[in-house]
Symmetry: C2
Subunit: 130 residues, 2 copies
DNA sequence: TGACACCTTCTACCGGAGTAGTAGAATTAA
DNA sequence: TTAATTCTACTACTCCGGTAGAAGGTGTCA
């Protein structure tokens, strides 16, 4: 099971900053998160160390500062976390998850037709290659 | 924010047993979980105490044993957890979540048409009552 | 009535997330 | 040169999930 990465809330928030800006120092991450969450400089730094130990970010020194960058793609994290939730909540049943999403949230007409188009496109792509 | 319940993996697994069987003793929960997870009796018992403290289960004594039952509905938990993930991962954008699901998982033809039917049904339900 | 089996309760421990203070190095300003 | 600023490194602490041993209560049955 390589490349599966569960990330907690703050960790994910930090990663999202890195994904957006390619690279960032502790101060820059902190700046980007300010407003939603006002955290101490050291808190961000600590989290980045933990993320690095986890192998999902990397850093290089530039002068006195460390510049961090993400080592994994948003897609990997999303896949892991969504798949995991579908597994835990719906026993891996994708349609059940979709049904829930459609039932519980108020989707607009426009979104519905966009989804329909998406499915049609997907149907064309899906050859009988199972 | 009442009625929002985040549950971790084991907690959710235990709740699912309770939802299926309406009521269960510690031993029964343990039995139901055996195979996937072989846990000590006391582990389940401890988790149930924690879940009770959290207000999501309840118990009554019958003879020497406690019989537990769920106090919340599966739907409440699913809503909370799905909504939360969509928020954290896709900034609350439902369509983005759906797109991801369609792109990343290998959906079969059959599932696709079932989804299409689902959307059509939803479209009929959705009056312009926004 | 004593031995055993079954149950809950209490307590404890580990690890990870989150939060941050403090120390010490380095760079800049005065 | 000294003082202030700005970083990282180290440490620690709380909370929670998960896991389970030890202890103590209670029922059963020969």
């Amino acid at each position: 099971m390589a490349g599966t990465h569960q990330l907690a809330t703050l960790q994910l928030a930090i990663m999202q900053v890195l994904w957006r800006s390619k690279e960032a120092t502790v101060a820059e991450v902190r700046e980007a998160l300010a407003g939603d969450r006002d955290l101490a400089h050291t808190t961000i730094a600590t989290m980045l160390v933990k993320l690095e130990r986890k192998g999902v970010v990397d850093h290089r020194a530039e002068g006195r500062a460390y510049i961090y960058r993400a080592l994994i793609e948003p897609q990997q994290v999303k896949s892991t976390m969504v798949t995991d939730l579908v597994e835990r909540l719906f026993g891996g049943n994708l349609t059940a998850m979709m049904t829930h999403l459609l039932d519980e949230s108020d989707v607009t007409r426009e979104e519905l037709s966009r989804l329909k188009a998406l499915i049609s496109r997907k149907e064309k792509e899906t050859h009988d290659d199972v």
